[in-house]
């Protein structure tokens, strides 16, 4: 895939795909992740996609989108290691599939452009009602993380592991910072983001909508366009000892999460062997954790290892009875040691490699997945899933042994039922 330079700090990527009945467009704005701006930046996509100058009322906007056969415009904020990304989408059914000769494509593109460049603002400020509504929704989302104990435990361990870095912030920013946002501060953020974000416009579909790239470049012309250097992430410094945290909650099943760190952050070659390693360790049903912690010892229903390529960590999590927590933790460490010692077969390694290859090949059948694949690779020319497959194929037994040796246990986070400490 080749990026098309459009303007300073603005690139386009068109992936032609004739199989789909829809077109999927994303405009991705990349900024360095900073504690002081993470919350205000993150609220922007939500306010901008809920209304615009043309549709100041969200119900009217939603009605129009329904009339366009469920075309969608939307926005989200995410973290890619030490980079923050604000993503704006539009997807719509291609005109040839609309009954009665109606057309939706042009208007859906128009809605995306006006969402970005013609917000509903007054006197240098977003409208209070819009800002307060989206703030409330974000604050309730943050408060609601605790409802799902598995996700809650994962969000808590990340906050603990990275408490000294911006990456430790939630992708929404903290509740305190969200509460402090005003219509003015959000408008300032809007101008700063459009002036300084690195921009990537991605289109997946049969054809590139007319002048789409140019029109977004034109929209950005009114801004100063100082592109800040977004850069690959910094790995976590090794801790002197393992940080152990125990939280007691009113639950019937305990949760155990173990965070392991490496110094490998983001190169595709490293990503390839860390991906295979993680899959062999705790991915598919052939993995060490599934085969031993679940099937052999019957300790858990799930026990999985999930890597984060941008910060180079891996999280192993499981739901477990309090009296079995220590046993599960020891077995997880034991299985990591087995991999370090090379105690796995070529067949098991091939299981992991072919499973990853197979699922990468399936990415081409989903516009949203392809869009996500490229959007999560903001540093220079992104590698395609096919190119990544060729790196996966080259991973050897020695790479896995090396990968296993790179991980150091950093933090253990446990949630246990009241009065049961799982020790």
């Amino acid at each position: 895939m080749k990026l098309v330079p459009i303007a300073k700090g603005v690139n386009g990527l068109f992936i032609q795909n004739n199989r789909f009945s829809t077109t999927h467009i994303s405009v991705n704005l990349y900024l360095p992740l900073k504690r002081e701006t993470v919350a205000v930046n993150a609220l922007l996509p939500f306010v901008l996609s809920s209304c615009s100058a043309e549709y100041p009322d969200f119900s009217a906007l939603n009605l129009r989108l329904n009339e366009l056969y469920g075309a969608d415009v939307g926005g989200i904020a995410d973290k890619i290691g030490d980079t923050q990304v604000l993503r704006f989408f539009s997807y719509f059914i291609d005109d040839e599939y609309i009954p009665n000769g109606d057309k939706v494509a042009d208007e859906a593109v128009e809605l995306l452009i006006s969402m970005l460049f013609k917000p509903s603002v007054k006197n240098g400020s977003f409208l209070k009602a819009d800002v307060e509504r989206e703030k409330r929704l974000t604050l309730e989302k943050i408060a609601g993380i605790v409802n799902d104990k598995r996700s809650y435990a994962i969000s808590r361990i990340i906050a603990e592991m990275y408490k000294d870095e911006p990456f430790g912030e939630l992708k929404t920013g903290s509740a305190k910072d969200v509460a402090a946002i005003t219509g003015e501060s959000l408008f300032n953020a809007f101008e700063r983001v459009l002036s300084s974000a690195e921009v990537r416009i991605q289109v997946i579909g049969k054809k590139l909508p007319d002048r789409l790239f140019d029109r977004i470049a034109e929209g950005l012309k009114g801004y100063e366009r100082i592109t800040p250097a977004i850069a690959p992430s910094v790995p976590k410094k090794p801790a002197a000892e393992v940080n152990r945290i125990l939280e007691e909650m009113d639950v019937s099943q305990g949760k155990l999460v173990m965070g392991f760190c490496t110094d490998c952050v983001g190169s595709e070659r490293e990503t390839a062997f860390l991906t295979v390693f993680a899959d062999l360790f705790g991915g598919g049903p052939y993995s060490k954790l599934f085969a031993n912690v679940r099937e052999k010892l019957s300790l858990c229903y799930y026990c999985a290892a999930r890597p984060n390529r941008n910060k180079g960590y891996i999280l192993v999590d499981c739901g477990v009875e309090s009296e079995n927590a220590e046993k599960a933790e020891n077995e997880i460490l034991n299985q990591l040691n087995e991999l370090k010692k090379g105690n796995f077969t070529d067949e098991e390694l091939n299981f992991a490699i072919s499973s990853i290859k197979d699922s990468l090949a399936c990415l081409n059948d989903s516009e949203a997945s392809l869009d996500g694949w490229y959007a999560m690779r903001p540093f220079g020319e992104p590698i395609s899933p096919e190119e990544f497959i060729s790196l996966i194929e080259k991973v050897t037994k020695e790479d896995i042994i090396k990968a296993a040796g790179l991980y150091r246990l950093d933090t253990v986070y446990k949630i246990m039922p009241q009065g049961k400490k799982g020790e």
Binding site: N62, R136, D148, Q253, P285, A361
Partner: protein, 429 residues
């Protein structure tokens, strides 16, 4: 073997339905140029099939959670488990049990026929022993406990328990730690022999394949025996039309109250028609969709947040509209839903919103044809509920204002069950 090609002139799409001589219904949806293939081999057997009539016409009750338990155990055959066979091909494989079906699936980008062979083999090769059953009780016990701690799961099942007196949709799909303790290798075989007959099953395939070649392959590799036409004879008894309780609540560790509101359509164990499904989907969108006056009002009064959603919860033998979300005042949410339904009934029907809702649902349906998984999931629904998939799209186009007004009658206070999960009061026990 009888093959028919089902076409939609509206969508310009088609699929083949093969009534195989074994009784199995096979749905084939070729998607030329796609990289992935998706397959579902399923049976019309889920948690609602909790009792059957034996050969003497006597009702036999089954342990709660047995369909789900059987799904877990079917992965193991005498010559190893299905997961390790798929590991060799690189396919993604999984299975799930819901209220009215059990499905075994894989998706892959290569070695399609090897994967299909694995699927056809292991689903037709039950192997249960006392030891393997015991091992699974620990794993499923943890799965049940995981769901016990999930407030969005609890709030929904509490609502179903409040709505129904006896209808088995009120039973937790995985059962309880106590009920699964009653399961033995023998009860698993009994259920398998009864509910996994090919005439009770369906096979759905979507992806880049040649139909003739796939059919030849199935004919060569599908194990058929002479018990195929044995009737499953599951029974779901009718129950009163009124709800059991209007309000159900419990406490869990949540940030703010979760609610789930259901409306009881009927006590009869009846499968909804396709027109009923299409009509209610449009109605729900008009009533509470993101463009509706009710949604705007709930949002602006701080009564709901992004967790708010609704669905027409349907399956074999049940259908009910459901709303769920988080709110500090769930009773007020229910009151406003009822008030909005009354407003629509008495002259508040908005034709523009009606048409927009119809289009949105149509567009969402069209998009699902872009993925093999989406296609298989739609065809599976049509196989279980026994309708023609394309009729759904025709029904969407044919729904009238009067249809919507008729379906509005279910939204009354008497038919409603409000289930709430409240936060645990801090400082208490």
């Amino acid at each position: 073997m009888q093959k028919s090609v089902i076409k939609s002139s509206l969508l310009n799409k088609k699929f083949s339905l093969i009534k195989h001589s074994s009784g199995l219904n096979i749905f084939l949806y070729p998607m030329p140029g796609f990289s992935s293939n998706y397959a579902i081999f399923g049976t019309k057997y889920g948690s609602v099939d909790n009792a059957y009539l034996d050969d003497n016409g006597q009702k036999v009750d089954l342990p709660e959670g047995i369909a789900h338990f059987l799904e877990h155990k079917l992965f193991e055959s005498e010559d190893g488990d299905a997961f390790s066979k798929y590991a060799k091909t690189g396919a993604y494989s999984n299975a799930y049990t819901s209220f009215d079906r059990t499905c075994y699936l894989f998706s892959c980008s290569n070695r399609f026929y090897d994967n299909l062979k694995i699927l056809l083999d292991f689903v037709r090769s039950p192997y249960f022993t006392e030891a393997t059953v015991n091992k699974e009780q620990g794993i499923i016990g943890q799965e049940i406990k995981m769901y016990d701690d999930m407030p969005n799961w609890r709030v929904m099942f509490n609502m179903l328990e409040g709505m129904f007196y006896t209808h088995p949709v009120r039973i937790d799909i995985a059962g309880t730690v106590q009920s699964i303790a009653k399961i033995t290798d023998k009860t698993l075989y009994d259920c398998y022999n009864r509910f996994y007959n090919l005439s009770n099953m369906f096979l759905v395939l979507a992806g880049d394949f040649d139909e003739g070649q796939v059919l030849d392959f199935i004919n060569k590799n599908l194990a058929v025996d002479d018990t195929q036409n044995k009737k499953a004879n599951a029974v779901i008894e009718n129950e009163p039309d009124n709800v059991k309780q209007n309000l159900v609540s419990c406490n869990l560790d949540v940030a703010k109250p979760l609610f789930c509101i259901g409306f009881k359509e009927s006590g009869r164990a009846k499968t909804p028609t396709i027109k009923q499904i299409a009509g209610m989907e449009i109605l729900l969108k008009m009533l509470a969709g993101s463009a509706s006056p009710l949604y705007k009002s709930l949002l602006e009064k701080d009564l709901i947040n992004e967790e708010f959603s609704f669905e027409y919860f349907t399956g074999r033998g049940f259908a009910l509209p459901i709303f769920d979300g988080e709110s500090d005042n769930p009773k007020e949410v229910l009151n406003l839903i009822l008030a909005e339904a009354d407003r629509l009934k008495s002259g508040g029907f908005d034709n523009k919103l009606f048409e927009a809702s119809r289009r949105e649902i149509y567009g969402r349906g069209i998009r699902r044809f872009d993925s093999a998984e989406g296609v298989c999931s739609m065809l599976t629904d049509s196989a279980v509920l026994e309708y023609n998939l394309f009729d759904y799209f025709d029904a969407l186009a044919s729904i009238t204002k009067q249809d919507i007004l008729n379906q509005l009658s279910v939204f009354t206070a008497e038919k409603a069950v409000l289930s709430v999960v409240n936060p645990i009061e801090k400082g208490g026990n």
